[in-house]
Every structure is written in C-alpha cells, then in structure tokens.
Subunit: 343 residues, 2 copies
C-alpha cells in the first residue's frame, strides 16, 4: 500500500463529524479532551471513529506541534530485569533506530489497577504523539481504547482480541519452536518433550503449537510428554524432574523460555545426567543467562522488530503490517550430542 | 541547603549578561542557539556562566514551556543487555519514579565519534529540559559541556574530572567490596584474592581499593593475589585459573563484576573444586545470572539512586548532593562453606 493511496482512503475528521452529526471541534474534543463531551455524544463519535477507521495523521500532528514526534513506551517494573524478559532489549532497539524515523521514545509506567491511566496521563502532557504498545495479551484493553481515541500506535505482539487490527509486529514463536524440534530430532535425541507455561497465555500457547507442529512432521510421536510451570526457577526445576522420569533417561526437553530451560538443566544435572550429551535442552529468548550456561536458545530479532514498528507507525510504504518475524536458533552445547565441553 | 537559599544565591541570566558585557538575549542565544553567536563572545559568555555558577531554573523552564518536564537519558547499545550492565535497571527505576517528580524520560543514543552530538540534537528538538548522564568516566566531555551550555543535569556516576561539581549520585563500590572481604574472611576462607578490571577505569579502581581496604583491616595479608581481565567470559576464566594456581586450592576470589565472577566459578569447577564449599566467589551487580547460578553478589540500590537523581535535578531540599549509596551484599551458595547445595 503506497502512502498516497493510504491518504486517499483514509477517513478525515470531517467525515467522522458528519457521520456522527456533530461539529469538527466535538470530534477533536472526543479525541483530546473526552471529559468535555457528554457520554452519549462521546460514544456516538467513537463508534463512527471505529466504523470509518479514522486515524489522525502522524505527519500532520508533527507539523502542528512543530517538533520531532515522540512515542510512549510502557515499562512494566514487575517484568523488566527478569531473566528472559525481552522488552528491555526491544526498548534499546527502539531507541537506537528512532533517529532514522524522526522519532523519540518516552518511557512511562502504567498503573496496575487502571492500565489505561498511564496512557491517558502521558497523552495529557502533550509530550507524545502516540504509543508503541508492548506485551499484548488476551483481554488487553489498550488497542481498542487507542483506536477509539484516535491515537496512533503500533503493537509489539499480536492484537489477539481484534484480528481486524493489523498494526502489529511480532516474533513467530511457533515457527521457532518447530525449527527447534527439527534440530533436536536431527541431533538424534529420538523424542522431544515440552516444558511450557500453563495454557492461556498467547505467546505460550503459540510456542506449544509450534512444538506440536514439529512433532507432526516427524516419526517421533511424543505429544503426551508435556509438563507445565509458571515462570519460576524452582517450579520449573520440579516440573522438568517429573518430565525426566517419564522420559526414561533419554530424549530432549524443549522449553517455552530460557528460565524454564535453566530449570530443565538443573533437573538434568540433579538426575546425574549432562545437558547436551545425555539430554538435549533448548530455551527461548537467548538471554545472557543462555549465553553464560551454553544453552541453545531461540533469539528474537529485536532490531528488525523495532524498525518494522517505526515503519508501520509512520505509514512508511516499506513497512508492511502485520510483521511476523522468525527467530533464529542459536545452537550451543546444551543441544549437541558430540562436543568438546567447555569448563 | 533550602530551596529559598539556593534561589537567593543563584546567579541570574542578567548577572551573566552584565559580567560578560552583552545583552540578555545574547546569553540566551549562547545557551540555546550558540551557532548564532560569534566565537569570542560565546567563549566570554561561557566563562562567565561557569564562573558565576549560573544554571537555568528547571521550574522556570517548565513554566515557560507549559508542559511536564522531560529529561534525556543516553542508552549505549554496545553496553545494554550485557550481563551485569546495570544501566537498564537504572532506566527502569528512573521511569518508575519519574511521575513522583513531575518528570518524564526520553531515551536516546549518542554518536560514537562525537559523544556530544546526540545531546545537542535532542536539546535542539525542544523535547527535553535537561539530562540524566549515566556511565561517567575519566575524560568525560559531557559534564563540562552541559555546565557551559547552562543545561540542567545530574550524573549517575561521580564527575571524576571535575571534583567541584557535586550534582551526582553513585554507588559506593569501594565500601561494598570492603563488606564482601569481611564476609569472606568471617566465613573462614583465610585469604581473599581479587579478580579485577585492568587499572584505569574509575569504577574498577574504586572497587579494587575497597578490596585493599578490607584486607588492611584484617590479619589476612594477600594484596599480591590479584589478576586482571577485561569484561569477557573466556578471558576472565583464564585469569581466574592463573589466580587459582597461586592460591594453592584454598581461599576466596572477590570479583569486580558478576561476569568476572562467572569466569571464576568456571575456573573453580574446571580445577575439580566447588564454588562455596571449596573456594568462595563473590561478584558485583546482582545480575539475573548471579541469581541463576547461586552467586553471592553486591546489589546496587538502583531505586534509591533514581530518587536521589530526580531530587538533585529538581533542587528538592530532600535531595542532598552528592549522593553516595551503599550496595547490599546478597549472600548465596558461592560464598558459604557449609550449605545444602541446590541441584
């Protein structure tokens, strides 16, 4: 889709005002100061905004404010710094690539009880023109609210509840897991068990499906070899120990994250076995822990994801939405059978 | 120092103009658009700015711009995400504590060849009111330039070359290392060797001094047991192996960082010994790797540092500058002699 074509197709604020039977100023108020507008009018205008697919033009906003555009990025203090949490890496890549897209990044934290409050407040300061929304989840109120409010945004993570919204970038965990299964079978581990998160998280379910995909294409038939653990090292170690008992001292364990994989490595060693030469172990995220422990892991293409996010946000014709990017398998000692072990 | 007293003592733009024999507008130009001012005049004005200690008032700037104040924070892509790099943790804490100080954070990257260019560019956009300058070093051009340019800032890390500038927050690595030596001696390791970075980095030299301080207060006399390595796992492992040979299979290794400590743990295991029960190992930064590997480490008080930084930046009477904060020793299996080993 070319930029010109997009501009031609895009509904204007006048279209929205006409359809809702209100003035242009009222539409603007609904977008910028909704508290000034009576609830029934506000709802009618928002319905028309969504129906017509109206989105304020980033370039026009930028011109009006006569400064570089800036975008808010939510930092979740309870997640950041945790092993395998990749949003801090994504933040760095967004910052690094921002100048090439005439953009700046403003970090903020959201309220735990009212997830939209932080977004509302930051918009109110006039500091940002839109958002990059990370860590999307089932029942996420942010995408719908941003569309209704006419605020430009791009999501890092699929917009799971609103399949019609394609303004997202994500990493194809499913394809990555399939690649990992193929690698483990090619290494001769015979069977590939799965240590995943409890069913119900979009990324976790997606990764589990990739494991099943990988098995479906092989002669190994082990889809019953699965255990679940939340993202906690001790619980992951226990879950992996249960899995190991059922595996009969052979095979490989594919894990939904590096932290789960670290638990698996601990369980393997506790059973008197060696990761790699005895039991294959693969994680996902390629955290610094994976590198330090010689753990094979799926690396997320964060630089590529950041560039795709900026392009989609700015309506750059080179940025195709949605963007589903493949992770790369970084092979280390934990998933190779014949190797020289490092000390 | 109370806020009122600070205001009374502070030189104004009029004082600078009078002293330099120029108009108020010229001083303002030197600060905001130096390219408009002839070099000799610019130099004269800058000399008076530094001599009179003139610093534009953050609150006044904020009022003038009629929006929340925002501060730039440089992200160094070559450092972030590396094990034990604590600036991403600091960024999260700055973001979390910003709303309590009516502030926002704008991340940016600096040019490798012209470290000031990124600062100049971001100032030029009008998006930020000042900076939080991390990763200070010997020969750092940023503090002097920011003072000369009249840009409000606070440093995370001492302003090593300009001892008269006290607007910084730092973590007392020296005190932390002394505490670690005392802990290792109390655990009965007998001798404490040091694995540090090559002499010449301010934080590294400071930590080494803390090790010497700790030995000086004890009966253990092992200041010759020192090896150096850059921040690289393989080199750290080799350096630790050399150190171990000289230690005769007993004692402890105190390391300047978690990455060096990870190398030490590898060398210990390669020598057929066990970290903790045979050789004590302590790192610094309390990275997620330290937690995963049961490595004792010095945790930096990043939340406290962020709050102190905001207070100093805003001239909050509760924020005393400089702020030198003590790290906390997090004791794990790698530095305790009698323990139940986790799998």
């Amino acid at each position: 889709m070319s930029a010109t074509k997009a501009a031609r197709e895009r509904a204007t604020i006048v279209d929205v005002a006409r359809a809702a039977g209100v003035s242009r100023q009222t539409v603007s108020n609904v977008l910028n100061r909704p508290e000034l507008v009576a609830a029934p009018t506000r709802d009618r205008v928002r319905q028309e905004i969504v129906r017509l697919g109206f989105a304020p033009n980033v370039a026009a906003q930028q011109l009006r404010r006569r400064r570089a555009s800036a975008y808010g990025f939510e930092v979740n203090p309870s997640l950041v710094g945790k092993m395998g949490h990749i949003l801090d890496g994504f933040l760095v890549e967004l910052t690094t690539t921002a100048p090439g897209h005439q953009s700046h990044l403003v970090t903020f934290t959201a309220d735990r009880d009212d997830v939209l409050a932080g977004y509302r407040q930051l918009l109110g300061t006039g500091l940002v023109d839109g958002f990059i929304v990370g860590d999307t989840r089932y029942g996420d109120p942010r995408p719908a609210w941003l569309v209704e409010s006419g605020v430009p945004f791009v999501a890092f993570g699929r917009i799971w509840d609103l399949p019609a919204l394609d303004q997202w970038v994500d990493v194809d965990g499913r394809a990555g897991m399939r690649t990992a299964v193929e690698h483990l079978l090619a290494e001769g581990y015979g069977s590939v068990a799965f240590l995943g998160w409890p069913v119900g998280s979009p990324a976790g379910d997606d990764r589990r499906q990739g494991w099943l995909d990988g098995l479906a294409g092989s002669t190994a038939d082990t889809p019953s070899l699965v255990e679940e653990s939340v993202q906690d090292l001790n619980r992951a170690t226990c879950a992996a120990a249960r899995l190991l008992e059922r595996m009969g001292g052979a095979g490989a364990i594919l894990c939904a994250s590096d932290l789960l994989a670290l638990g698996a490595m601990r369980a393997v060693r506790a059973a008197g076995l060696e990761p790699g030469s005895d039991i294959g172990v693969v994680g996902m995220d390629d955290s610094d822990v994976a590198e330090a422990l010689e753990l094979t892991s799926l690396r997320q293409p964060l630089r590529e994801a950041a560039v795709a996010a900026w392009r989609i946000l700015h309506g750059d014709p080179k940025g195709r939405a949605p963007a589903l990017l493949a992770p790369t398998l970084i092979i280390r000692n934990s998933s190779t059978r014949s190797q020289e072990k490092k000390p």
